[in-house]
Amino acid sequence: MTTLEHTAARPAKETDTRPFAETAETGGKATPKRQFLRDAEAHVADTGHRSFVRSALGGYYTSRDTQKARYRDWEHARDAASLAKWSAVNRLDELLEQFASRFEARGGTVHWAANAEEARSIILGLLRKAEAKAIIKSKCMTSEEIHLNAALEEEGYGVVESDLGEFIQQLRGEPPYHFVFPCMHVRRDEISTLFHDNLGSEPTDSPEELTMIARRHMRQLYVNADVGITGANFLVAETGQISITENEGNARLTAALPKMHIALVGIEKVVANLDDLSVLLPMLATAGAGQPMTCYNTLYSGPRQEGECDGPEEMHVVLLDNHRSAILADPEQRDSLHCIRCGACLNVCPIFKNVGGFTYGTTYQGPIGSVITPHLRGLADWNHLSGASSLCGACSDACPVRIDIHHHLLHNRRNAARTAPNWLEKIGHRLFVVVASRPWLFRIAGWIARHTMGLARRLKPPLVREWLASRDLPSPPAESFRTAWRRRQRSLPSPSQGSPA
């Protein structure tokens, strides 16, 4: 019952629609589905964009395969990783309590946020208490989910994204395009212009120089920031630590120099112990970025301890539910909480590669986003994402924790059909049953179809117009299958021996 109440009492309407409004410029009566169809059509036609995204992913495929080959048995490692997450998610209450008590025993504070609204007000309260003037932030998808930056700016706090990709997206005023590679759609000349306009740098077409411009710009910001905000990839119940995975070192700096460290983490991130982490960390890096390990995998167990020469005076972990417990309440799709956000399913998805990240209109793009967004924001408005799949299963094959992603898309379709049936389809299927179970009627219907298909191709009547917009009907056959079969039987020399009539 609690779960139902929770879903019904979905807070802050504006949180649920803001990201969509951000990406859909038209406003008005546009629904997420209409926005998806319109943006998908535009992106599919943009072959330049598609080939750019494909070539950006080319290096990823090579390095991922090289690193996977270093595993003596990658499939067995996937088994172990999926079981580690299954075992953790199915005793989430115990492990969260264990994490909280052990983390607090080392001087940190744990806050529980049931929804986005609560998480924002907890963080704003902490910033007021710290009298924060400058905030530095490292990449954190949960903060995108709750629209933290907008809330902070509304209250007059300046916040700088330190991850290079997120920084570029912040300057562009766009959400991330891909939840692991936020600006993979942006060309270097666009970044050069962006830096020239915002930071006054000299134009350049070298990715290395562009990176150094951001590096120089950011260094004093780290030193001057008084609060650092990060996410976390794992919570370790056994030791009360949070684990942050990154490549650039920006999260390390964010958690080292400011006097307060706040981490905003989804409740599903908890794992039982460090041993599980020794399997999950390398797999996250290999599946997500084609690396043996990312550059920095860091465990934090609280603020600066006695005898340490630096580190924050205060550390806070904000545990975010925000409809995750509703996914938990669905045993069929519970394993979508096993997700470690590596992004491997996006990188292999034919839909993602063709429609691009913004088309989804969600915080979490790609196949896994299509599975969980209906739970986070409502099935009625977001079910169309489950239809945006060829069901090829590439996502499920790529998933390092073996989430059955493409079957969950089918589950969503089924659930949507149950809650909001499409009457036209229902009547159509009933009619088909009536026709298909009566040979004489089937013969008549076939005759009508053969003689009207050509007309339908030319006239595109309303019922099939949308379907025909991107497809073509085959030319109608001259005769029915049954007629053709009878003719073929007659022309054969004799029926085969001994077969029943």
């Binding site: 290096g59 115990e94 946020a113 309260g125 290079l164 590096r215 043996p292 550059c295 920095y296």
Partner: protein
Amino acid sequence: MTPAAPSSDPNPRSSRDAILGRIREALRVPAPPPHVLDRQLVTAAEPSVEPRPEGGRGFPSLSVLPAEAGRPWLPDGGATPEERLALLTDNLEKLRAVVHRCDSADEAGRVVAELARSSSWQRVAWHHDALVEPLLPQLPCEAVAVDGADGSDKRRLEACDAGLSSCELLVAQTGSILVSSRLSGGRGLSILPHVHVVVATISQIVGTLGDALEATKARHGGQLPSMLSFITGPSRTGDIERILVLGAHGPKELHVILIG
């Protein structure tokens, strides 16, 4: 010590109880184990039939499974010290870290001095440590201790060209260096200066990440350092057109000096 929840939380107890209550309600219906290839793993990971006396559902952790068998499916960690040294060196070089093999602390000091001269370092940050201190006399530039009596000053550290630190352990399997806020000069020394020089002995090399975490727990017991960081190569990014660039925010160069 459990600090009182700050006043910023709208209703701290009730949110905690509401979330845990929803989780418990949701978990009353069990979810089947994932479809894995090795059914033996599932049997071992399945919840025990008898609930544990303390009331939990009695799932064993992954560690009860294949840890004793050495996890023969993960990337190799090397069976002998020689294999581990070779694997570590190979992995570090692939990650574009520079490995310097030295026979003695004296030779290590010469290597660091040469690095300082060739890159014209003005200031090097260091911390008090038995492996780090012997390298200082040969340095041709200013040396700044980060853990001195006046504590660490982040502005002074930012002005340093390089950081010189020791580490907890080195991991052959992945080419990682495990640093900690307790044994490696705090959190800033290994990340803020443009160059990070790690000095270690070959006896600090372990096989796998699992071995490293096990050994770290054994060394520090219940009082783990507030930060433990696996450093795997110099800082990097691929955010611009997925093209690899070294030195995004952390050190552009990583030197590993192995003594022994």
